[in-house]
Symmetry: C2
Subunit: 256 residues, 2 copies
């Protein structure tokens, strides 16, 4: 009856929070069944469901029909859905997204250069190699581009920064995928070179250089994107085309 008395649905969130805090729930674990939680917490099942739905929206849990409710595994992740709504509600410009991404990635590159381990640099090197190998396949190139940046973010050694990079980048990659098909060999070639330079800077622990190169890369990339799609103004005026929305997880077909 302590602090949990305000909202019944808050009780659910608090309960899960405390289970996590106590170490009773870890990654990959399954939560008790909704019916069990219902009796255990003394609240109705719809209320339990509401609480779990909230946790699900926060990305804390993930429900699988017929199986159970689980805590996702893998690296820490912040959903990018809230950002999408935020952008729509406040009319955030695409430039702001680009800039935010640049801020995060440049910092991540700096951190990576500061403390990248041998394993981290190896992963990055691998992606650089894959980039050069897929210069003739824009879609494949994009996949390794994404993985490269993810590897750099991971090498930063700061999981929060990595999560933020992922969150903001997700917005960016969405239409990036559309323009990827139109990229020329020249663009990809230049991009691959820059990626390699960034990798080398990280490997040499040259913080300033890594940051500078990453900044240049992203500025260049943003400029290229900007010249690609003008219809920004048109899209705003035109009524939404209804069903084109990427409801499906558009995150790119990565397997590993």
């Amino acid at each position: 009856m302590a602090k949990s008395g305000k909202d019944s649905t808050e009780q659910v969130i608090t309960f899960v929070r405390e289970m996590i805090a106590k170490g009773e729930l870890r990654q990959g674990d399954r939560l008790p069944a909704e019916r069990d939680l219902s009796t255990k917490l003394g609240v109705s099942r719809p209320t339990i469901r509401a609480g779990l739905r909230a946790l699900s929206a926060m990305g804390v849990v993930k429900s699988r029909h017929g199986s159970g409710t689980y805590i996702p595994e893998g690296p820490p992740t912040l959903g990018s859905e809230p950002l999408r709504f935020l952008a729509a509600l406040h009319g955030l410009s695409r430039d702001e997204v680009y800039e935010a991404r640049r801020v995060l990635e440049v910092s991540a590159a700096g951190l990576a250069a500061k403390r990248a381990s041998a394993e981290h640099t190896a992963v990055i090197a691998e992606e650089v190699a894959s980039l050069f190998a897929s210069i003739d396949d824009p879609q494949e190139f994009l996949v390794h581009d994404i993985r490269f940046h993810r590897a750099v973010a991971s090498a930063s050694g700061n999981q929060i920064v990595a999560s933020l990079v992922e969150m903001v980048s997700a917005l960016y990659y969405e239409h990036r995928r559309d323009t990827a098909a139109r990229a020329t060999d020249r663009n990809l070639r230049d991009a691959a070179d820059l990626h390699r330079a960034i990798y080398q800077a990280i490997r040499k622990h040259d913080i300033d250089l890594a940051q500078t190169l990453m900044n240049r890369h992203l500025l260049h990339s943003a400029a290229y994107q900007a010249q690609e799609d003008q219809p920004l103004g048109l899209q705003a005026a035109r009524p939404v085309k209804g069903s084109r929305s990427p409801r499906k997880r558009a995150a790119a077909p990565d397997a590993s």
Copy 2:
């Protein structure tokens, strides 16, 4: 008209998303009543509630009992709850939180120095003045400290960056509030001086200096915090339960 979705509850989210995209829903607006949405979307009310609960968890909407469900006003905000869970689940160290905050705030200071307007600098100046005025009142000092950093983030001109700063800082301020009462005049004096220096750098559009000073300030602050307390966890977000602080100073029922 209901867009065919996999999940019934997804329909609700999609519906709201499209209303926002069409401009039919803006900040401060009230959503249709749950019962109306129920008939309009052809799904049951508990389902509507589940969808709204998810949106609420994302911070997109906010329900007020007896009044309605609204879209919050004010600057864009990303809840920090997900980060809290992330920290608990992945055992993120406090240092990571500090570092992430530093990364964001340093970048924000740089952007602010680049493009701060007269109004923005005025707001920052005001908070600096308030900092000096409340050197003998740690709690009040903390309030203006927070406002100062918020003003800087806002002056960055990038709402996404500002939101991220707010999100990460929220984690930080929680235990900061506990240690605030123990801060000495000397600490506050130094902090105020640094804040003033940061402000001046921003006003002079000296990007490098602003970043350097902000970085120094936060490093110093982190070092001070580190010597204060050890434990990290996720205590239930609200007031600390009885078992934590070895010595609790004056109660300070101030909730701000």
